[in-house]
Symmetry: C2
Subunit: 148 residues, 2 copies
Amino acid sequence: MPTIHAATRTDSGLASQLRVSVVRLARRLRSEREPSNELSIAAIGVLGVLIREGDMTIGQLAAHERVQPPSMTRTVTALVEDGYVERRPSAADGRSVIVALSEKGRETLLADRRRREAWLAQRLKTFTPEERDLLRRATPLIERLATD
Amino acid sequence: MPTIHAATRTDSGLASQLRVSVVRLARRLRSEREPSNELSIAAIGVLGVLIREGDMTIGQLAAHERVQPPSMTRTVTALVEDGYVERRPSAADGRSVIVALSEKGRETLLADRRRREAWLAQRLKTFTPEERDLLRRATPLIERLATD
DNA sequence: TATTGTTATACTCTATAACTATA
DNA sequence: TATAGTTATAGAGTATAACAATA
């Protein structure tokens, strides 16, 4: 079995190793989430979309998170009950419902993120300045891989 | 809002941006999975562990995937029924059940991986050789972040 | 007549509790 | 007496189908 460095010499090898490493780190980051959290994965996903892209209708959220509308209705209903988001009627279309983050929702999501980022920042301290610099330059490339 | 490059100048900024990019790429890679697949996420996880770390007992698999033993029993039962893994009695301990990949399981998992890797390799072609080289050197660092 | 969202209902996945068999 | 795994049962989460309101 070649080491990771050796295996990434070819492009398909790079794709293979990068895939494994990225998925593994993502899983690790996910497991660093507050376990005593009343928010489900789906709920956190919705809050994340709202904070990144702003208010959205139920249908837009469902399409974005790739769930069916009834599932999103349910997730949003739970988020409203717990005070993380608000429902607002759409001025443009009386059939639509606009979902907006509440202050509690914004704060909760940011706290959840901070917790995971603190763990990652801690780990980064064990790297040399050169290694951190390498990661710094690689990060935009990873972002570019993720976004069409 | 600073650009990603500017935002990563500080270490906490690096942690923040790297987290977002990695989670986003992982999600993207996951969505490139064959949708018409009869394997559940949990099932693919089990096959992945078995191919990486070799045969394991139900209990070891449950601990590894952080599920309760009854859930793993159920997942493994489904995998056995569909021919992806085999159950074997443990020679060392009559209470234990060893789970081993079948040829079909190995082939299915590898096909699933190849599909996702093909997508990533395709995307990598749009990068310059220098950028690919940067990713090549960053990959082992990402792996090190993920593994204690 | 088509679309947005909801309600009704069923299925999948996971968990806890109780049980069987081996150590 | 403790441990590995299973069975029984219940609780989330999501899906499809049918429906109400609006375009």
